[in-house]
Amino acid sequence: MRATVALENGVLYCSGRDNSVYAIDTNTGAERWLFETRKVCSTPVIAGSLLCFVSADRFLYAVDATTGQEKWKYKCQNEVLGSPTVTDDTIYLLDEEGYMFGLR
């Protein structure tokens, strides 16, 4: 595990090297849920009730933070560097080809 963790309401979200994102109960250490992608994932960010992260499989994922159910995913043109930056109306991403872009 190398990414930074995201922490909210007693649940810790982190991505591992095994292409997955974990939700772990900070009191018990128990795994709440696990979301698997095809490639390694970025540091997850919490935006509202969703957990957003990008994976090296070029998808931007939005997962329900409580259940771990996929809400939507967005296919990017290139692999994304770092984690997404989320504001009320736009999601900003930086890709490996040197482009930064805003999604709405």
Partner: protein, 285 residues
């Protein structure tokens, strides 16, 4: 009777004084005068030092704890790309080589040294830093994607950035901690150390104090065993305190930042984080 007057006279005096105080206190003129005094005091203080800088206030949705929690509404599935910047950099993950030695032809590739930071947003500007042989700081307009500024640092890498008030804060691999004015792009202050590098953690600003981790420099590399956590006055760059830690300090998170308590809280925090990763941490003050 005489005893009674002895008691009642001072009593009357006290009641009279209390009554006068009550009238003065409840009078709207007194209230206004008090307000003006408070306002004057506030203005003088503001003149001396404006509101303490904090990286939480200027970045919408970003909490001080830096745990990547955005207090925004849940984003809907994106439909369109609203803007795309120009090509900002060339990232080479590997450098290939080839050549001939007599009749022997050889070729191959080796991984290149590069790093990047996740973008942060502060008052309509997106900032991120990058290292591809040289260090770069990019600032883009968040509405249009137009480039506002690019700073280049020769042969040095730049840490993640922190934005607070009118300033961008960063640490670099060549041992500097810098504060740059976001409007004029002038260097506000810089601290130079030849024994540490400061690109290993993301800085945080809370209550007017800049906190970032450092790692002892060993030529171009850094020691993973010898880390520090530095706290500096965000306006002047003056060092407030420094703690040494075994292992590189992680990016700081700030909880309930109250100046005299901050050191203790941060040490505690490093311990918690270090314990989390199963490391033993020692703090020296």
């Amino acid at each position: 009777m005489r005893n009674a007057s002895r008691v009642s006279l001072p009593l009357c005096g006290v009641v009279f004084i209390l009554a006068v105080l009550y009238i003065v206190a409840t009078d709207h003129r007194t209230e206004r005068w008090l307000e003006s005094v408070v306002l004057a005091q506030k203005t003088t203080e503001a003149g001396k030092q404006s509101v303490p800088l904090s990286s939480a206030g200027t970045m919408p949705g970003v909490t001080l704890q830096r745990t990547r929690v955005y207090s925004v509404k849940s984003p809907n599935e994106p439909k369109t790309i609203v803007w795309k910047s120009r090509k900002l950099f060339m990232l080479r993950r590997a450098q290939s080589f080839s050549g001939e030695m007599g009749s022997l032809y050889y070729f191959g590739s080796f991984p290149t040294d590069y790093s990047y930071t996740s973008p942060i947003i502060g008052s309509d500007t997106i900032y991120f830093s990058l290292f591809v042989g040289d260090g770069y700081l990019f600032a883009l307009d968040s509405q249009t994607g137009a480039e506002k500024k690019t700073l280049k640092l020769k042969n040095a890498s730049v840490s993640s950035l922190a934005v607070a008030g009118d300033y961008v804060f960063m640490g670099t691999s060549d041992g500097s901690i810098r504060s740059i004015d976001r409007n004029s792009w002038q260097l506000k202050w810089q601290v130079l150390r030849d024994d540490y590098r400061f690109d290993v953690t993301s800085p945080a600003v809370a209550d007017g104090v800049l906190i970032l981790g450092g790692a002892r420099r060993i030529k171009q590399q850094y020691s993973r065993a010898d880390g520090t956590l530095h706290a500096l006055n965000a306006m002047s760059g003056e060092q407030s305190w420094m703690v040494k830690v075994e292992g590189v300090a992680s990016s700081p998170a700030v909880i309930e930042f109250i100046s005299p308590m901050s050191a203790a809280i941060c040490i505690r925090l490093i311990r918690i984080r270090a314990d989390w990763f199963g490391r033993r941490t020692r703090s020296v003050r």
